[in-house]
């Protein structure tokens, strides 16, 4: 166990997988000399050289498609899309090529491709640079969508992604890159996809989150415990697709109440899917409708106060919980 920042846990996962498997290589904008716009690849160029840590032109569609091609030829590419906002210019490659070729070809080919991207708002980057599109990716069959909340999970899940024969979209919240946590050293510790984690046990209400929202949920749970004598169980989904609804249902059947928290826009967001599944499969256990605490349905404003108001906060979670009692 070592205490690492999220960005360092991510780098360690990539480094270990590159040492383990010489088919693994990294490609992206400014991942080399610049060290990665969020410093996740810093130092890897010096260690592995410019062929395995490849700086690319600003051509997201081109490099994601190139990743698909390299994967078809048996390599294990990791493409860093600097931020999820730029994945929109590459979406056709992700959806119409990466996610479908295994099925379309009748199982003849598969696409072991890891797509890392930084996501989330809160840094006053404005409307085009503050997206949380995890739910959009989770909608496409053939994709695996990973959204870690802690450094240890980030490392175990990213290493797992490198060993998967299918395309994995690995989404990192920019607000968490500096967050610290204990990370196991064992280079073969993988975390399986589709296994949610109960990060805080509780009895009165189930609060479901992923990535950044797990932390809002946990802070809210503390407030509820200290200020209101309520015990909230916090569940971290860790992967949106496959979704571990079983763990969520088991909890809700005990607590009889659920709140789903996410940064993304509420309307048509992933929280709606989770809420719908809870209702469909735990209807008779619910004492109140499943609540959603999510982003305001507005393009992200630059102004700090407006942005804060547009994003979900622990206070919003606390309110939602108190409202359902």
């Amino acid at each position: 166990m070592t205490d690492l920042r999220m960005r360092d846990a991510i780098r360690e996962a990539m480094r270990e997988e590159m040492l383990r498997d010489d088919r693994v290589f990294l490609m992206g904008e400014d991942i080399g000399a610049y060290g990665g716009s969020y410093a996740c690849t810093r130092g890897l160029l010096d260690e592995f050289g410019p062929e395995r840590v490849r700086d690319t032109p600003i051509s997201e569609s081109g490099i994601v498609g190139a990743g698909v091609g390299a994967a078809l030829a048996g390599l294990r590419p990791m493409i860093e899309i600097m931020t999820i906002n730029f994945s929109l210019v590459a979406l056709d490659q992700i959806v119409n090529n990466a996610s479908k070729l295994h099925y379309m070809s009748g199982g003849q080919v598969h696409v072991p491709l890891v797509l890392r991207m930084a996501s989330g708002g809160g840094s006053q980057l404005g409307a085009t640079h503050s997206h949380s599109l995890e739910g959009m990716f989770a909608h496409f069959p053939g994709l695996t969508v990973v959204c870690p909340a802690f450094p240890a999970d980030a490392k175990g899940l990213l290493k797992r992604a490198f060993r998967d024969p299918n395309p994995v979209v690995f989404i990192e919240h920019t607000a968490l890159y500096g967050s610290r946590g204990e990370v196991p050293g064992d280079p073969d510790r993988l975390i399986e996809f589709g296994r949610a984690a109960v990060v805080r046990p509780g009895a009165d209400v189930t609060v479901v989150g992923y990535s950044g929202s797990v932390h809002q949920a946990t802070r809210a749970a503390r407030i509820l415990a200290e200020g209101h004598g309520l015990s909230a169980e916090v569940i971290d989904l860790r992967t949106l697709r496959p979704l571990d609804i079983a763990t969520v249902l088991e909890s809700v059947r005990r607590t009889n109440r659920a709140v789903v928290v996410e940064d993304d826009w509420r309307f048509g967001g992933f929280a709606g899917e989770v809420a719908a599944q809870i209702m469909e499969r735990a209807f008779d256990w619910l004492d109140a409708p499943v609540a959603r605490v999510a982003g305001a349905d507005v393009p992200m404003p630059y102004n700090r106060n407006l942005e804060y108001a547009a994003l979900p906060s622990e206070e919003d979670v606390v309110e939602a919980v108190l409202a359902m009692l």
Partner: protein
């Protein structure tokens, strides 16, 4: 559109009689396959989109025959000709068009997405230009592994309008990748004349990325063959990508749904006069490589093979409903190494 000047290719070794006969056979096979497919489409045996290659046979046969077994191909949705030229049995392609289990993709892909990984045929793609970046990745894999196989990326003139054309050519050029870009310029992107779509000739735009770029007569199979060989040699020597614009023409509509409001019968007739099959037949007879009886024998062989393909396809069962969820993701257990 006028079929352009000959390519600056060292004439060099013209293929011998046997190889020319093979070209002739394959072109006849493709044409018959397409005619039969059209018939099967009208009879409801084939559905969805069906884009026929009739008229463009010389491109597939000339270019694909220049490849080695280790080379890879990615192409667009108008892919039957390339698949046949690569040696994929017409019966398995026809079975795919019929959506049956013995089809190349077991009935999941259809006409636009023929795959045969055994033959390095890494697919037909239906998002225009969407496969061009994939060719970059294949080239990258070959170059990173220091292997000497090349990738042939076939696309249409319409694909040149897409941004991915630019991104892919630029990446292949700056990384000196072994990719032969093969543009089948048949004069139209659906109903839009090529000349209205691009500010310059395709091969001149490609030249701006500092790769050798030539325009050839895509209705002369011998020219296509020698030009593609030259391009492949260039790639294998580590000189980076090579661009070929082959001028050709499709005799039929864009797809079976095309009302063809955008061109005249006379224009089609003009190109039929330049038919690549008849042209090769004439020159082979002149060279003493072929005579009428031999030609008739070839045609007869082709007919039998295509009739067999239809019979095979028709006899093949449809995939069972229980397979609906197969192959969404490769099983993870087997996946973990």
């Amino acid at each position: 559109m006028s079929v352009g000047q000959a390519a600056p290719v060292a004439a060099g070794e013209t293929p011998d009689g046997d190889l020319q006969e093979r070209f002739l056979y394959e072109m006849l096979l493709i044409r018959r396959f397409e005619e039969k497919s059209a018939e099967m489409y009208t009879r409801g045996k084939i559905r969805g989109f069906l884009h026929l290659y009739t008229g463009e046979e010389a491109c597939a046969v000339g270019a694909v025959n220049a490849l080695r077994a280790s080379d890879k191909i990615v192409t667009h949705y108008r892919d039957h000709g390339h698949a046949i030229a690569r040696g994929i049995e017409p019966r398995r392609i026809m079975a795919e068009l019929f959506a049956r289990v013995d089809g190349t993709n077991h009935g999941r892909g259809g006409s636009m997405h023929i795959f045969d990984v055994e033959r390095g045929f890494l697919g037909g793609y239906a998002i225009v230009a969407g496969h061009m970046p994939i060719a970059v990745g294949l080239g990258l894999a070959a170059s990173m592994r220091r292997e000497d196989w090349a990738t042939l990326c076939i696309f249409g003139d319409g694909g040149v309008g897409e941004g991915e054309f630019h991104e892919a050519l630029n990446l292949a050029a700056i990384w000196k990748l072994p990719v032969v870009w093969f543009c089948e310029n048949n004069g139209y992107g659906m109903g839009v004349p090529f000349d209205d779509s691009l500010a310059n000739d395709v091969y001149k735009i490609a030249a701006a990325y500092r790769m050798p770029s030539i325009r050839i007569d895509g209705m002369d199979v011998l020219e296509v063959y020698s030009a593609t060989r030259l391009a492949l040699a260039h790639c294998r020597e580590g000189n980076g990508p090579y661009f070929i614009e082959a001028l050709t023409y499709r005799y039929r509509g864009h797809s079976m749904a095309d009302p063809e409001l955008y061109r005249t019968k006379a224009e089609v007739e003009m190109f039929r006069q330049r038919d690549a099959i008849q042209r090769l037949k004439r020159s082979m007879i002149a060279a003493g490589f072929l005579d009428e009886p031999a030609y008739e024998a070839l045609v007869a062989r082709v007919d039998t093979e295509i009739d067999d393909a239809v019979a095979f396809a028709d006899a093949s069962p449809e995939p069972g409903l229980h397979t609906l969820y197969d192959h969404i993701t490769k099983e993870r257990e087997r996946g973990i190494e």
